[in-house]
């Protein structure tokens, strides 16, 4: 089980979601992907997309206006 981080700070939608989709396809089931974002629309569409895929999702507010979306690839 590995943990990967992608830096999407300063990037507006839909870039974070596109990067997330690309990265998640390259990792193994059971791995965890952490997406760093500071754009509030990505805070909505990245977790929403991940949930519809059936992945586990958690959002951490690491600083004011900065979040980490933690996605576990469950299948």
């Amino acid at each position: 089980m590995k943990e990967y981080t992608i830096d999407c700070l300063g990037e507006a939608c839909p870039v974070p979601l596109m990067k997330t989709e690309k990265k998640i396809n390259s990792i193994e089931v059971g791995d965890v992907l952490i997406v760093q974002i500071d754009h509030s629309c990505a805070m909505k569409n990245v977790p929403e997309w991940a949930r519809t895929q059936g992945y586990n999702v958690e959002i951490d507010e690491v600083a004011d206006g900065e979040w980490e979306v933690v996605i576990e690839k469950t299948k």
Binding site: M1, E3, V32, K44, P47, E48, N56, V57, E58, I59, D60, E61, V70, E72
Partner: protein, 406 residues
């Protein structure tokens, strides 16, 4: 990935109006509080564009704006937020566990404020027009905005028919789609009679919604006759669905007492069947689901959480803990019979100084400690030795009888 364990005084499940208010009360009482929300903070209220009946905002407020203020206030009092799904709970016992996929949260108190969602019809394009785009679930919320309009109501239960009649005070026409044969409705007979006599109400029998049609907003609803399969297109300004409400209580089902439709049963203190577990807001079995009532629930649950934790500490440290055996007098300050015993217990305390620990518990404000000691009448004496209840005395409380317990 190794699961983390974090400890909190209070974990609140759900970040709608009830959960946020409970958070404000817990945070302000200096309890270490975590609020877990599965999607976005604010809950169902954020789906409403205009909230006009929440006191203090005479010009109205958007649901999102109002809930943003709630969250700011909770943050100000130090409430922490975690945005993720709760996967499971263990609610029995003194330490409760709330699991998310990365962390197990241990808490002394859990407040269930997970709300619910209205049941949908499943008709085509329904998702395009939900909430402020034409499909509504709350007559109290959206009636005024439909003044002079044509409305459709789906359903024929008590909620559908009673809310439909309420809507006729605003709308010009209320068309009700009923799935049953003509004259058959699921509501009570009185409501049925009134509805059939209401000149503003129209009924389309044997129908279910097939499709919702519109552009930005809903324009019409296509109904399908369940017998003939005929499709009927009805132009409307709004459509209200009253086909039930689904509380988010799946993960509590095995542990918390729910009523038949799945709502959490609480008393007026928002206590559930398990000590230290409270419920607040739409998830409760309650009369009116509004932001204003959720706020009241949340305040009570937050206050109750603080009281419960304080009582737990007194119970553990003062009453059951320590090396000395203990005598507890449960009394009620408003009862003369109880007050008359105070000199007796003080005399006993003087006599057994440094040998027996004496505690007086006034049950007038809270019955919590009495419940934990298994006593439901006052005055009563409980004798505790080695952290266990040895004996209870509920009548004939005299100095001699107390001594004879030892």
């Amino acid at each position: 990935m190794e699961k983390k364990v974090e400890k909190y005084d209070v974990v609140i499940i759900g970040g709608g109006a009830a959960g946020l208010t409970a958070g404000i009360y817990c945070g302000r009482a200096r309890l270490n509080t975590l609020l877990i929300e599965k999607s976005l903070v604010g809950g169902l209220a954020t789906y409403t564009n205009e909230i006009e009946n929440y006191p203090g905002f005479p010009d109205g407020s958007t649901g999102l704006g109002l809930m943003d203020l709630f969250q700011k206030q909770a943050k100000k009092f130090g409430v922490k937020f975690k945005l993720t799904d709760v996967k499971g709970v263990t609610l029995k016992g003194d330490t409760k566990i709330v699991e998310t996929f990365r962390t197990d949260y241990e808490a002394k108190v859990v407040i269930i404020a997970s709300g619910g969602k209205p049941r949908l019809t499943g008709a085509k394009n329904e998702d395009l027009f939900l909430y402020d785009k034409g499909i509504s679930f709350c007559a109290t919320c959206d009636a005024a905005a439909n003044t002079g309009k044509t409305i459709m109501v789906i359903g024929s239960g008590d909620a559908a028919i009673e809310e439909g009649m309420f809507l006729t005070k605003f709308a010009d026409k209320v068309i009700v789609s009923v799935m049953h044969d003509e004259g058959i409705m699921d509501c009570n007979e009185i409501a049925k009679g009134q509805a059939l006599d209401n000149p503003k109400m129209e009924f389309i029998w044997n129908t279910l919604p097939e499709e919702f049609v519109g552009e930005e907003r809903l324009n019409s609803v296509v109904l399908k006759n369940t017998k003939t399969n005929e499709k009927i297109k009805v132009d409307v300004d709004s459509c209200f669905l009253f086909i039930g409400y689904l509380p988010n209580t799946e993960i509590f089902r095995e542990q918390i007492e729910l009523n038949r439709p799945g709502y959490v049963i609480t008393n007026e203190k928002m206590e559930t069947n398990l000590p230290g577990v409270f419920a607040a807001g739409d998830v409760r079995d309650k009369f009116l689901k509004q932001v204003a009532t959720a706020v009241g629930d949340g305040a009570i649950a937050g206050y109750g959480a603080e009281k419960y934790i304080a009582e737990s500490e007194v119970f553990k440290d003062q009453i059951m803990g320590g090396d000395l055996p203990g005598i507890v007098l449960l009394w009620n300050a408003v009862s003369p019979e109880c007050r008359a015993l105070l000199p007796v217990i003080e005399a006993f305390e003087e006599l057994y100084k440094d040998k027996v620990k004496v505690t007086k518990v006034d049950v007038y404000k809270s019955k919590g400690l009495a419940d934990r000691l298994g006593v439901d009448e006052t005055p009563a004496i409980v004798y505790i030795k080695n952290g266990k209840i040895e004996n209870t005395l509920v009548s004939g409380i005299t100095l001699e009888n107390i001594e004879s317990l030892l």
